[in-house]
Amino acid sequence: MSPALQTRALGKRYGRGWALRDCTLTIPAGAVVGLAGPNNAGKSTLLDLAVGLLAPTEGEISVLGRDPWRDAGALGSVGYVGQDAPLYRSFTVGEAVEFARATNVRWQPTAAHEFLARLSSDRRISTLSAGERARLALGLALGKRPSLLLLDEPFARLDPLAGREFLQMLMDGVAETDATVVIASHVTADIERVCDHIVLLTGGRVRLEGNVDRLLASHRLLTGASRPLGRISGVREIVRRRHSGRQMTLLARLDRPIVDASWSVDRIGLEDLLLAYMTPEQLPTPRAHEKGPLRWHG
């Protein structure tokens, strides 16, 4: 099966700054992908490129084997929910469903109906809560029977309960269709709950990518006495090091099990792993003007 989403050296520049650069990744069909990264990491840019709202500055992107920018019909089986679930606020719920039916050939009323039954169809969208809006937007996207579903920060405005309901609806909807799902979120806890594949962007570049189980299996926390570091047998890369007193903790990417008994080896959770990759190795030193005398603001 061809990959659901594939990019090669993809880049997008706004003015002088690159929002996304040198992005090469392959998202296998059927995966539930967490697109993680801090704010302004390029997550939304990547999704906008994937739905053809943006044109790549360089490189290539293909969605379900088609070019979303040049091939106007590529979005037929791509579901997309933008940030804050954009909907026509003056429409009623029923009219929003009618809009989706009118603009999609493959629209399946039954697929959406199940999810939207809980929303009364004469309610105006402007009166819906953030959670209801998010569910409506997701229902419209699921009604397309998408092979690829792209969600941009779906949890940003949702309280924990609404977030859980949204996730439940998402998983129910996707279970029936085997769709590939990409969830962009800066909250790593959201991603941890459902995703089996991770793409971590920082500063517009892909920092980490891969299957969650394999990533967790290949990363370990090593704790031991502080010492000058040479090569540690089995460690491919030290992602981050932290000193506390005479102890030091290393997050290491392994290629073989650690045999050195002077290290105590622990597993790491996905959230900690992502945070470790997001944190720069050394905190940037404050610039001169930030070190000025403290002022009293009273």
Binding site: V51, L54, L75, P86, F99, A102, T103, N104, K144
Partner: protein, 315 residues
């Protein structure tokens, strides 16, 4: 897409119908008495006004009585521009303002079809509305058209098939401005300026030349045979055809007064006479056709540019 267009523009549609109805009511309220007076005075038998004695008085009376309402009809030239402002400009701009382009342009319908269906449907509705308006204006103005012709800009631009053509052009210009500026109000302003700029340029620079103008050398100084024509130039020329400036004309008239001779006879004795450049009123429908074609072609070019821009510019 028809349902989507209807749902998103039904308020504007109803406002448009409301405007048409109020214009129709106003036209009937003022037009019926005017038509009654026209038939009562048997004005049609008075053409030209010199046909029989007393006619010029009847015609003059009719013109002063209904002249005020006639001036109001001229404001109908703003109608097409309003359509462009209120229907065209927000078409794309509002999607950007509310962020809903992320919804509209990520469905199966391509952006090109989205834009073309909406524009074409709205253009048809606009053209029908504008045509109704123009028919009303033609019915209303009929007595004046008989008396004064309909070739001069104040009547030419509110009658016939140019009204729908202007309206469709204004709509397409509004859509284009909305896509370029991405905000409704600036797009409305830009479309307004653009619309009147183009209208003025066409009226001043192109329309006089749709067909070669006719020239008329009147032996007298006061022409009255061109009341139904569009007079482009009306000046006094000397025997070899050089135009006499108004300064020289005034000087000559002053001279005649001092010499206590009749001014017009004096001017004639100098070999001066009046030269009129005009477009005859019989060319009304030809000019309507050419001007409509100009604006429809402009509208088509703008739609084409809008589609290309929409496909090319990333949001």
């Amino acid at each position: 897409m028809a349902w989507v267009t209807w749902r998103q523009h039904r308020l504007q549609f109803l406002i448009g119908i409301g405007m048409l109805v109020s214009v129709a009511v106003a036209a009937l309220a003022t037009g019926l008495p005017m038509h009654a007076a026209y038939h009562r005075d048997a004005l049609s038998a008075c053409l030209p006004p010199t046909a029989r004695s007393g006619c010029d008085i009847i015609v003059h009376h009719f013109q002063t009585e209904f002249g005020n309402v006639l001036r109001a009809v001229r404001y109908l030239v703003f109608f097409p521009a309003l359509v462009g402002l209120f229907v065209g400009a927000p078409l794309v701009a509002r999607e950007f303002e509310q962020g809903t382009y992320r919804l509209a342009w990520t469905q199966t319908v391509t952006r090109r079809r989205w834009l073309l269906s909406k524009t074409v449907l709205l253009a048809v509705a606009t053209a029908l509305g504008a045509f109704t308006l123009s028919a009303l204006a033609m019915w209303w103005r009929h007595p004046f058209d008989v008396l004064e012709g309909r070739m001069s800009p104040s009547s030419f631009e509110v009658e016939g098939i140019v009204v729908p053509a202007y309206a469709v052009f204004a709509l397409c210009l509004g859509v284009f401005a909305g896509l370029v500026l991405r905000r409704s109000v600036p797009a409305m302003c830009a479309a307004l300026v653009g619309f009147f700029g183009v209208r003025l340029a066409v009226a001043k620079l192109l329309r006089p030349h749709y067909l070669p103008a006719r020239h008329d050398m009147a032996t007298g100084l006061t022409p009255d045979s061109h009341s139904h024509d569009w007079v482009l130039n009306n000046s006094i020329v000397d025997a070899v055809g050089h135009q006499i400036t108004s300064g020289r004309e005034d000087l000559a008239i002053l001279h005649a007064r001092h010499a206590r001779i009749d001014a017009s006879e004096y001017l004639l004795s100098l070999g001066w006479h009046r030269a009129v450049t005009f477009q005859p009123g019989s060319r009304f429908w030809v000019f309507q056709g050419v001007e409509s074609a100009v604006f429809i072609l402009l509208a088509a070019a703008i739609v084409l540019a809008t589609v290309r821009l929409l496909q090319r510019t990333p949001s």
